[in-house]
Amino acid sequence: MASTLFRTIQIHPFLLYPTAICRRRNGVLYCTMKSTQTQTATQEKQQPPKVKVSQHTRSKTLEKITRDYEAIIGIETHVQLLTLTKAFCSCPYNYGCQPNTSICPICMGLPGALPVLNSKVIEFAVKLGLALNCKLSLNSKFDRKQYFYPDLPKGYQISQFDIPIATGGYIDLDLPLEFGGGHRKFGITRVHMEEDAGKLLHSGNGDYSQVDLNRAGVPLLEIVSEPDMRTGIEAAEYAAELQRVVRYLGVSNGNMQEGSLRCDVNVSIRPVGQSEFGTKVEIKNLNSFSSINRAIDFEIARQVSLHSQGHGDQIVQETRLWEEGAQKTVTMRKKEGLADYRYFPEPDLPEVILTQEYVDGIHNSLPELPEMKRRRYEKMGLSMQDVLFLANDVNVAEYFDATISRGADFKLAANWIMGDIAAYMKNEKLSIKEIKLMPEELVELIASIKSGTISGKIGKEILFELLAKGGTVKGLIEEKDLVQIVDPVEIAKMVDKVLSENPKQLEQYRGGKTKLQGFFAGQVMRISKGKANPGLLNKILLEKLNVKS
C-alpha cells in the first residue's frame, strides 16, 4: 500500500510553506498532496476483467502448471547498504528516525549542491559482486536515470546504466527439506550501484501526502537475476540466500520489514515446450519471503487460468501489487510502452576505476560465504536439516564455528544450539548475539558432561542459568557444588539410607512391585541434590534392592 501512486497533489494551507522550511538545515519539510479517490477505489477502477482464483482452483491450476505450463521468474532486488553515511553526502541514515531529520542540501537536491561518492559503496559493491561470482568492471561509471516524482529530489536518480559494476554471476542455494530439498544454481545478470529515493507519507484519509527525504541518497545495490526460477519457493529461497549473503558480508542488514532488502518479481508463463517467453508481469510490495512465495504462486495460477481459458491476451505487461490481506495481486499501473529514462553519464562524478590489486585485496578478505559453509558442514557429517539450520543465520554459524574451533564435539554442539539454546532464544525473543552464554562456555559445558563432571540434567540447569545470567561453567559448578558424585561408596551410603528410611516400600518391591525402583532412585537423587551419577546410582540401587535378605 505504501507504494501506491498518488496522482493528485494539493497544498495544505496549514502546513509550512516548503521554501521557507528548506532553508533550515534539518528542518521539517512538507509537501502535501491530496488524493481525490481512495487508494483501493483507484486500483479497483484500473482492474481488468476480474479473474477469480479460489483456493481450490489455485491448487488445481498449480497441478496443471506442472503438467502443461512452465513459469519463468526473475527477480530484481534492492539492497540498502550499511554504510555510516549516505552514498553522496555525509548524512547518516537511521531507519525510523523523525522525518527529514537526516537531510542536507545534497540529498535534498538544492540548487548548486553536488554529489561526492562514498567510497564504502564501491567496496560493498565489489564485495557483493565477488560473492555472487560476478565479473567486475574495472572501469564503470554512474549515469542519471531521469523521471519526476516528489520523492526524487533532483528529478533524476544517480544509478548505473550500460556499465554496471558487476555482471554475469550466479548464486548457489539448497532448498529446505520441507519443500523437497535439492541444490539450485541461479544466474545473476548484474549488480549495480544507485541511490535510494525518499518516501511519501500518505495521510490516513488519503487527503494529502508528505515527503520524507531521510532515505533519499541512501546507497543501494540492485541485483538483477536471470529468469531462472520456476516456482514461488525457488524465488523465495533465492531472496533468502541473497539475504544470507549480504548479512554474511556485512554489507546490509537485509531486513525486509524495514525495506533494507526489497524484491520486485517478474513472472510470466508459457506452455511447456514453447520457447518464447510469455508476457511478463511485475509484482511489487513483497515484504517477506513467504509473500514472495505466495504472490508468485497466485500470479502463476492467475496467468495459467487466463491462458488455459483462452484469455491469454488479458495477460498484459503491467505492475501488480501483492495485497497481503486479500492474498492476491492487483493492478497497480499499466506500462504505456517502455519508459524512457533518458539515461546519460553523470557529469558530476568521475568514472569508477578499480585496480586489480584493490579487487584482489577485497577478494582475499571475503568471509566464508553461506554456500561454502553449508558444504563444509555437510562434509563434517551433519544432516542437511542441521546444515541449513546452522548456516541460515550468520551469527548462529559463527557461534557454532566458535564452539567447534575450540574442540567441542560438533554433533553435540549442534544439538545444544538447535535444541535448548534455540528454544530459549525463541521464548525470550533474543538473537544468538544477545544471549549471555559465550561459545567457550558451551564448549566447557559439553566437555563437563562428556567427562562426567556433571550430569546431563545438571548440565541443562546450568545452561539456562548461563544463557540468562552469563558466568562460567566451572564457576557455577563450584558455587553450587554441582560436581557429580561418582564415588560408589558414597552412593551406596545414600542408597542404604533411603532403603532403611522406606522399609514399607522396600517390602513391596521385594514382594514384586519392581516399579518402585524409580521411586528409590528419585529419593537417592533427591538427597544427593541431583549430583549422583545416574548410571552408578541405578547399578548400586539394583544390587541392593535385589539382595536376598
Binding site: 491530496k34 548548486g112 533518458r342 557529469p347 558530476d348
Partner: protein, 542 residues
C-alpha cells in the same frame, strides 16, 4: 608623514585611471577615434592598492567601501548590474570590522575590504540566489558556494548578486527573468552574457572584482563587451559547489577584474580542491600573484620566444572587420614584445558550436529537473501532481530555458541519443585532441573573444541562431576544458567613444599561470587605450 604619501595612494579610493584623467581629459574621450593617442596609466591592481592603503593605514576599509558604494548608488539605476544589493550599512559594518582588526594590529585576509559582486547563479547564504529565474524568486540557499566562502574567509565583502541570463542560458543578459542590464560603454547596448551583470559591475567600478560563470563563454564574451578582464579557469580548477548547474561538464566559475592582476588574485583565492566537488582537481595551485611585475621593471622584449598561435578560423569571414583589426593589432603588439605569432588552424573549430549546444542542452535538461516546485522556489497552486509540475515549470522558466530543456530532452531520448548526444561527445573528443596538438606547437593560442563588439539591446533577442553563433569563439574552449583569459585590446566604432574588443588567450590545461603572466605583460605595455567607460570618468565623484 604626508611627504611619504604617494599620489597614487592618497587617491586610491578612486580608480587608478581617474587620478590622471581628470574631467577634461575624460570628456576628450567623447570624440574618440581609434587612432587617437591617449595618455593612459597602466592597469593597476585595485586589490593590491586597497591592501597597501589599509596596511599603511592611509585609507580605511570603510572609506574604500564608501567610495564604491557611492559610485554604485549613482550608476546602478542606469546600468542595472545587480539583482540584489547588500544593505550599504551591512557592507560598511563589515568594512568597520576590518578597520577594527587593523587598529588592533590583528591579521586581516589578503582580500580584506575588497568589494566583490557575485553572479546570482552562485549560492550565497545571506542573500537571495535566483539564477535569474522566476522559479527561484526569493530563494535563499542555506549555504555559501565554496568560491564565495573562500572569498569571505579571505576578508572580501560581497556587495551584491549580479544579473544574468536565466541559469546562464544566453549571451546578452536579456534572458534574465528580472531585468535588462546595460553596457556601461553605451547604455543602449547589451553587456554580453550570461555573466553580463558581473562584467558591467566591474566595468562601471561598482565593485573591485566579481565572480561569473562560464559554460560556453559566459565570462569571456561579457568581459570583451564591457572592456574588462575575464578569466575562465581550467575545468576542475575552481569548485563548482554552490554554482547552480547549467551544464555540469562545462560549467566553471570565472573571474572578472579591471586588471589582469586582480583577476589572477581573485582566481588564486577561489582555486583548489574542494571535498564537496568530485570534479574539482587536486592539483596544487601555483601562486599566480607573485608574477605581476610593474611595467617599469619589464625587459624590453619580455615575451621573447613565446610561441603564439592565432587561430585562423576565428579571424575569417564571420568576424566583424573592426574586431579583426583589433586582434591583428594585438598580435602585432605581442610580436613587439618578442613573441612569435603564427597562424594555426583548428579544423574542428566550426563543429564546436553544434556540439556545444547539444551537450549543454542535454545536461541542462537534466540539471533543471530539480526545479519542480515541490521543495523550494515558486510552486504553482494545483491540486494534482502533474499539474503542479507543469504549472510550476511553465510559469517559472523563461522561453530560452524551456527551449534548451526541450532540445536537451530530445537529444537524450531513446532513438536519438546516438545521433545527437553520443555524436556530440565524439566531436568533443576531436576538439580536445586538436587543441592538444595546437598547444603542443604553441605556448598560447589567441582569438577574438566574440565575433563582434556589444550589440544593441533587443537586436538579437528574437534570433536565437544569431545569438548562438556569437558563441563561436568561446564554446570550443569549454568543450576542451581549457583555461582562457580575455582582456581588452582595442576598440571598434560605436557608442560615444567606441566599444571595447577583447582578446582571448587560450592556454594548456591548468596553466593559468602562463596566461596571467602573458596577459599582465600585454596589458602593462599596451599603449594608447583607456578601458574605463566614459560614464564613470564623467560621473564626478564629488
Amino acid at each position: 608623514m604626508l611627504s611619504t604619501i604617494q599620489p597614487s595612494r592618497c587617491l586610491s579610493r578612486f580608480p587608478a585611471h581617474l587620478r590622471t584623467s581628470g574631467r577634461t581629459k575624460a570628456r576628450s574621450l567623447h570624440v574618440f577615434s581609434s587612432a587617437q593617442p591617449v595618455t593612459t596609466v597602466p592597469h593597476q591592481s585595485q586589490i593590491l592598492s586597497i591592501r597597501d592603503s589599509l596596511v599603511s593605514r592611509h585609507l580605511s576599509a570603510v572609506q574604500v567601501a564608501d567610495s564604491y558604494l557611492g559610485r554604485l548608488k549613482q550608476t546602478e539605476p542606469q546600468i542595472g548590474s545587480f539583482l540584489h544589493l547588500s544593505e550599504p550599512d551591512k557592507v560598511l559594518k563589515q568594512a568597520q570590522e576590518i578597520d577594527d582588526k587593523i587598529k588592533r594590529n590583528e591579521e586581516v585576509g589578503p582580500l580584506a575590504g575588497v568589494l566583490v559582486a557575485v553572479k546570482d547563479n552562485i549560492c550565497t547564504a545571506d542573500m537571495p540566489s535566483t539564477g535569474g529565474s522566476h522559479i527561484l524568486d526569493g530563494y535563499r540557499p542555506p549555504f555559501d558556494a565554496t568560491a564565495v566562502k573562500r572569498l569571505k574567509d579571505l576578508g572580501a565583502i560581497v556587495v551584491g548578486k549580479t544579473n544574468l541570463d536565466e541559469f546562464g542560458m544566453g549571451s546578452s543578459t536579456e534572458a534574465s527573468a528580472f531585468k535588462v542590464t546595460a553596457n556601461p560603454w553605451d547604455l543602449s547596448r547589451v553587456p554580453g552574457g550570461s555573466s553580463g551583470g558581473s562584467a558591467a559591475a566591474v566595468s562601471a567600478r561598482q565593485c573591485v572584482v566579481s565572480l561569473g560563470s562560464d559554460t560556453g563563454g559566459s565570462v569571456r564574451q561579457p568581459a570583451s563587451f564591457c572592456g574588462v578582464v575575464g578569466l575562465k579557469p581550467t575545468y576542475g580548477r575552481v569548485s563548482r559547489f554552490g554554482l547552480m548547474a547549467y551544464a555540469s561538464s562545462l560549467d566553471v566559475i570565472g573571474c572578472f577584474g579591471s586588471s589582469v592582476a586582480d583577476t589572477g588574485i581573485l582566481l588564486h583565492a577561489i582555486s583548489g580542491h574542494d571535498a564537496l566537488d568530485a570534479t574539482s582537481s587536486k592539483r596544487e595551485v601555483p601562486d599566480f600573484t607573485s608574477q605581476f611585475l610593474s611595467a617599469s621593471s619589464l625587459k624590453s622584449r619580455p615575451l621573447e620566444g613565446l610561441r603564439v598561435g592565432l587561430i585562423c578560423e576565428t579571424v575569417d569571414g564571420g568576424v566583424d572587420s573592426g574586431v579583426k583589426s583589433a586582434i591583428q593589432g594585438a598580435a602585432a603588439h605581442l610580436e613587439q614584445l618578442g613573441s612569435i605569432v603564427t597562424e594555426v588552424s583548428l579544423p574542428s573549430f566550426s563543429l564546436g558550436l553544434p556540439a556545444y549546444y547539444i551537450l549543454a542542452s542535454s545536461e541542462s535538461s537534466s540539471n533543471l529537473s530539480r526545479y519542480d516546485g515541490v521543495r523550494y522556489g515558486n510552486q504553482a497552486s494545483c491540486d494534482e501532481l502533474n499539474a503542479l509540475y507543469e504549472d510550476s515549470r511553465a510559469k517559472g522558466f523563461g522561453s530560452e530555458v524551456k527551449m534548451r530543456i526541450l532540445m536537451g530532452t530530445y537529444a537524450l531520448s531513446a532513438g536519438y541519443y546516438d545521433a545527437y548526444y553520443k555524436r556530440a561527445q565524439q566531436v568533443r573528443t576531436i576538439i580536445q585532441k586538436s587543441f592538444k596538438t595546437a598547444l603542443g606547437e604553441n605556448d598560447i593560442l589567441i582569438s577574438p573573444a566574440a565575433p563582434s563588439a556589444a550589440y544593441k539591446i533587443g537586436e538579437k533577442r528574437n534570433d536565437p541562431l544569431a545569438m548562438y553563433a556569437g558563441d563561436i569563439m568561446t564554446v570550443n574552449v569549454n568543450l576542451a576544458g581549457l583555461p582562457a583569459l580575455v582582456l581588452p585590446c582595442g576598440f571598434v566604432e560605436g557608442g560615444f567613444v567606441g566599444l571595447p574588443v577583447g582578446l582571448q588567450m587560450i592556454g594548456a590545461a591548468f596553466d593559468e599561470e602562463k596566461l596571467l603572466k602573458v596577459g599582465h605583460i600585454f596589458e602593462q605595455t599596451l599603449q594608447g587605450y583607456n578601458f574605463v567607460p566614459p560614464l564613470i570618468q564623467d560621473g564626478a565623484f564629488a
